[in-house]
């Protein structure tokens, strides 16, 4: 370990110190207050340090103590259900120790050392056997819904000397001993550390095959994201980014959800903390908090720790992926992370390129999102990390650097629209600006699991919406009266689709989560109505007669009227609509003949 050094200069969160021999990336503690920082640059015997806490009252001449390891995270049981700050300090323990405000210089380990866990060793492992990084040493039940696999830390490779018997162990106890050719005998515990800026290794990458379902119709049915995919939610303030992210966190079919509040509001995290324990996971039937982990670095917390929080989140995600889970990490918001980069770059005097952002913005974004993916883990299982980042473009302008670079990297783009939000059409995902390049892969899943005609009906619906958009332009010029009956019907049906399908009320008990089966049933109902109506209009039935049917108003409300378990009723409704329209057609045929 390097010798302690001294502070030379303090400029906000950046400190220069004399620290000969220190490595870039190493953690340090500064001054009497023991502030935590990270070396981000070296110049001869001088180190440039970014400090995760306010540097107020730090002075030149104070001591800097190197810690000998880079910013790393503790990985082991006890993470789920927890809430950590950007450098993985547990906020609950912090409050117990220090009260309602976060003081500086407090050093609290992320994982509770004394809590016992019931460990069951892997029956396939015997002493004398060769083990390597990623192999499962055993399991503990972390929460009722999640089995936590204790992994051999990546990089450890050697002969297993001893594996603990089944029983209760805490985090201080040794559960395995390995003889490694390089480092001699290594003691393994229930947890290990991993540097956050280095992606965890895996065997190989696989293509995504199954959609990450969210229960949100506009996402699942229209712009799907795959498990292991990368998605972005850009939108101006008030467009509903946070609400949509929370909906995804609530209803996604992932095993583990990691929610990173990065430079956002404190109250939003409280909302999750208050509501998630009460909500049930629709898949496991257990409390949602049991599969959720929160990283909170709110906007008023130090900006440098905000930069770290994203890496902390994705490393935690990779760790659960390595245990064979499907993980989704939500980052709200990546723009605040980029701004933290910009702030540090500015203080370093680096040349700004676009809107003050440093030249490496695009590559940092790309390498972050590249940590998403479906992989074969070191232990040979399949696991995935899906990354969904909110983007907060200044003034809602999608051509700004962060949105723009993100758009180049991700596969699914859920663009939020201010006009939709202003009309309280939520989720305000725009069907003209959003895209997904996972439709083909998702279609295979829908076709096998829900209905073969999914892809066809999805594109019929999108088609209808875009034609209605064109017609709206005509209406705005000359009024609706100028439309032909067929056009009129198209416009009305697009409006039905918008209200009855795309719009989804997160606060409505029935509508908040929509199963894939119900999503398809609603889509099918409306497309059926549209096509049959179109045939009637072509057969000269007046549009006004169609629009006067009370069934339209019922179709509009059917999303709220029928729950996920009432698919039969929904199908029956479709039948009823068909026979009503058929009756109408016959009436007009008789009149005309």
């Amino acid at each position: 370990m390097t010798e302690p050094g001294t502070v030379i200069e303090i400029n906000g969160p950046l400190v220069r110190a004399r620290l000969p021999g220190i490595a870039s990336g190493e953690q340090v503690r500064l001054g009497k207050q023991k502030l935590t920082g990270e070396v981000i640059g070296l110049d001869d015997d001088r180190a440039l340090i970014q400090v995760y806490e306010s540097t107020e009252m730090l002075r030149p001449g104070e001591t800097v103590i190197p810690l000998g390891y880079p910013l790393s995270v503790e990985l082991g049981p006890g993470l789920l259900g927890g809430i950590f700050d950007g450098i993985q300090r547990p906020l609950t323990n912090l409050r117990e120790q220090a009260g309602d405000y976060i003081p500086r210089g407090l050093d609290v380990p992320a994982l509770e050392r004394d809590r016992p866990w019931a460990f069951i060793p892997n029956p396939d492992l015997k002493a004398g056997q060769e083990i390597r990084g990623g192999m499962v040493l055993g399991t503990v039940q972390e929460t009722a819904s999640t089995e936590h696999r204790i992994l051999t830390p990546p990089g450890v490779h050697g002969e297993l000397l001893e594996l603990a018997a089944a029983g209760e162990y805490d985090l201080k106890q040794v559960i395995a001993r390995v003889h490694t050719p390089l480092n001699g005998i290594q003691d393994l515990k229930l947890f290990h550390r991993w540097p956050v800026r280095i992606p965890r290794p895996y065997q190989k990458r696989d293509d995504g095959v199954a959609p990450l379902l969210t229960g949100q119709r506009i996402l699942d049915t229209f712009f799907p994201l795959l498990k292991g995919g990368k998605g972005a939610i850009p939108g101006p303030f008030g467009a509903g980014k946070t609400m949509l992210q929370q909906q995804i966190a609530r209803w996604t079919n992932a095993d583990i959800v990691i929610y990173v509040g990065c430079g956002e509001r404190g109250n939003e995290l409280v909302d999750i903390l208050d509501s998630f324990p009460e909500l049930t996971d629709p898949y496991s039937g257990r409390s949602l908090m049991e599969r959720t982990l929160l990283v909170a670095n709110t906007s008023n917390m130090p900006v440098v720790a905000r930069e770290a929080s994203i890496y902390l989140g994705v490393t935690l995600a990779e760790y659960y992926r390595d245990q064979g889970h499907d993980v989704v990490m939500l980052a709200d918001s990546t723009s605040r992370w980029a701004e933290a980069l910009r702030e540090v770059a500015g203080r370093l005097g680096q040349m700004p390129v676009e809107e003050g952002y440093p030249a490496y913005l695009a590559s940092r974004l790309a390498s972050f999102y590249e940590r998403a993916g479906r992989v074969e883990t070191l232990s040979g299982e399949s696991g995935s990390v899906s990354l969904i980042g909110a983007v907060s473009p200044p003034g809602g302008d999608f051509s700004e650097p962060v949105t723009n670079h993100t758009k180049d990297i991700i596969q699914t783009f859920w663009a939020l629209s201010k006009p939709l939000a202003d009309a309280r059409h939520y989720p305000s995902v725009s069907w003209t600006e959003s895209f997904s390049d996972a439709v083909e892969a998702a279609a295979r899943w829908w076709s096998e699991n829900v209905d073969e005609s999914w892809q066809e009906k999805r594109s019929l619906a999108l088609n209808l919406l875009s034609r209605a958009e064109e017609l709206a332009r005509i209406i705005n010029l000359v009024g609706a009266e100028a439309l032909s009956p067929i056009q009129r019907w198209t416009v009305e049906m697009a409006s039905l689709l918008r209200e009855g399908l795309l719009q989804q009320n997160a606060l409505d008990e029935v509508d908040s989560y929509c199963s894939p089966q119900k999503q398809f049933a609603l889509l099918d109902l409306m497309i059926g109505l549209y096509q049959q109506g179109q045939a009637l209009v072509k057969a000269d039935v007046p549009v006004s007669a169609l629009l006067a049917l009370p069934l339209l108003s019922r179709a509009r409300r059917s999303k709220n009227l029928y729950g996920n378990d009432q698919l039969d009723e929904l199908h029956a409704l479709g039948e009823e609509f068909r026979s009503q329209l058929e009756k109408l057609r016959q009436e007009y045929e008789e009149q005309n003949s």
Binding site: Y101, R104, R265, E339, R556, R557
Partner: protein, 461 residues
């Protein structure tokens, strides 16, 4: 405090004073400066190394002489003395009295920068505040502990609206009143006086703490002022268990002062010349509002942000909107029609509304009615647009009803007197009168039960 006074200033410009060869000065330290005429100025260390110390001087560096400037480092950050006696007083940006009364004497002094509140210590705000203003209560409800700014423009009645909110705000079924922390940054004497008189005529002046830095006061002091004010607010709310309403006016002048200093320091400019840390800086102020678990008091915040050239995408309103829990946007168009309060409904929003309204808080139908009013008004504005092109006579029947709805909505729901204090039930009843102008089957945001109960077409067939 260091005994020694230094006289080594090597440069002074744009509010910054540079000293060479003063070792071991703490970053953020408060500095006291004596100029050549013996006048005192205040400063803060913003960069420190053994070779160079940079001090930001709140009163500016105009006519400072380098040879005759005496600098003393106070070995403490900026602090605000706190006691219940601050109520009824007027202070400047650093907490010194401005009302010719003696300074506050108290052993309790707090660093004005505060500390970040631990997110898990927060209690989620969910208690409905009735402001008596339909545009707010009905559509953008304010809850206790929320930060809800007014986005305004020059010449719009944001001060009147803020004063009306202060005057009328109350919790349903509770008698306790709000105490007010009023922070004026860069506003005119007349504006500050308007609030003072309004507080006085309502007899609440004794429950108000004012912090003022007016348009002709030194601008750099504005950077400390909201922090000092929030330190006082935190003390009132979390030490004295009071419900505090903070009015910050005008955050745009605050941000301009920040830009002025950032430019002088040579910070990399981003949009419109504002520094990259404007977001974090604003958040340090706004996020101090809220509620804390197991504490009785609360801080509700109504900042006023004037939008330069009425541009909501300007960095100041834009970044504010990303931090606050919604916004009340004022409309020049409605104001020109002499409509008060001229709230521009579509872009206005309250994010915390959902948990503060409904069955146990206001009335069961409230969330859906608000949703429906938004949707119907959005549709009605589209129709109005169309009518201005093809003429109202060409419109279909339903569209003409929407036109009627739009007019009624603006004239009867939005518009109200400056002293008119409507109950939430009155507000909702007006809403249903207006929704009854439209046929029930286009009102898909309300439930069928709502229609049966409140829609006039159903009750009077």
């Amino acid at each position: 405090m260091r005994e020694k006074e230094y006289r080594y200033a090597s440069a002074a410009h744009n509010g910054l004073l540079f000293l060479r060869g003063v070792p071991g000065v703490a970053f953020g330290d408060r500095v006291s400066i004596r100029d050549q005429r013996g006048q005192k100025r205040n400063g803060q260390v913003i960069l420190s190394s053994d070779e160079l110390v940079m001090v930001q001087i709140l009163e500016g560096t105009d006519d400072l002489s380098l040879d005759d400037t005496w600098v003393r480092f106070l070995e403490a950050p900026f602090e605000m003395p706190l006691s219940p006696d601050i109520l009824g007083r007027v202070f400047n940006g650093i907490g010194e009295p401005r009302d010719d009364r003696p300074p506050i004497v108290s052993r309790l002094r707090r660093n004005v920068n505060g500390q970040p509140i631990n997110p898990i210590a927060r209690a989620y705000p969910r208690e409905f505040i009735q402001t008596g203003i339909s545009a707010i209560d009905g559509l953008n409800s304010l809850v206790r502990g929320q930060k809800l700014p007014i986005f305004s423009g020059s010449g719009l009645p944001h001060n009147k609206l803020a004063a009306q909110i202060v005057r009328q705000s109350k919790l349903l079924g509770e008698e306790s009143r709000f105490v007010v922390v009023f922070a004026a940054m860069g506003v005119s004497y007349a504006d500050a006086q308007f609030f003072r008189e309004d507080f006085e005529s309502n007899g609440v002046l004794g429950n108000v703490v004012m912090f003022t830095n007016l348009a002709d006061d030194p601008p750099i002091e504005r950077l400390i002022l909201p922090r000092t004010a929030m330190t006082a607010a935190e003390y009132l709310a979390f030490d004295l268990d009071l419900h505090v309403l903070v009015v910050l006016t005008d955050m745009t002048y605050y941000a301009e002062a920040l830009r002025e200093v950032a430019t002088a320091k040579g910070d990399v400019p981003t949009r419109k010349g504002y520094p990259g840390y404007l977001y974090s800086d604003l958040a340090e102020i706004y996020e101090r509002a809220g509620r804390v678990r197991e504490r009785h008091g609360s801080i509700t915040m109504v900042p006023v942000v004037s939008m330069p050239s009425d541009d909501i995408t300007h960095p100041i309103p834009d970044l504010t909107g990303y931090i606050t829990e919604g916004q009340i946007v004022l409309s020049r168009e409605l104001n020109n029609q002499d409509l008060y309060p001229p709230v521009n409904i579509p872009p206005s929003l309250s994010r915390l509304m959902k948990d503060g309204i409904g069955k146990d808080d206001t009335r069961e139908d409230h969330p859906r009615v608000a949703n429906q009013l938004y949707a119907a008004y959005a549709k009605a504005l589209e129709v109005r647009n169309l009518a201005s092109i093809i003429g109202p006579d060409e419109l279909p029947d339903l569209d003409r009803k929407y036109l009627q709805f739009a007019d009624g909505f603006e004239q009867r729901f939005l518009a109200q007197g400056m002293d008119e204090d409507r109950s939430i039930i009155q507000t909702l009843n007006i809403a249903w009168e207006l929704l009854s102008l439209l046929p029930g089957d286009v009102l898909s945001r309300v439930s069928e039960a709502d229609l049966a109960r409140y829609h006039h077409w159903n009750s009077n067939p």
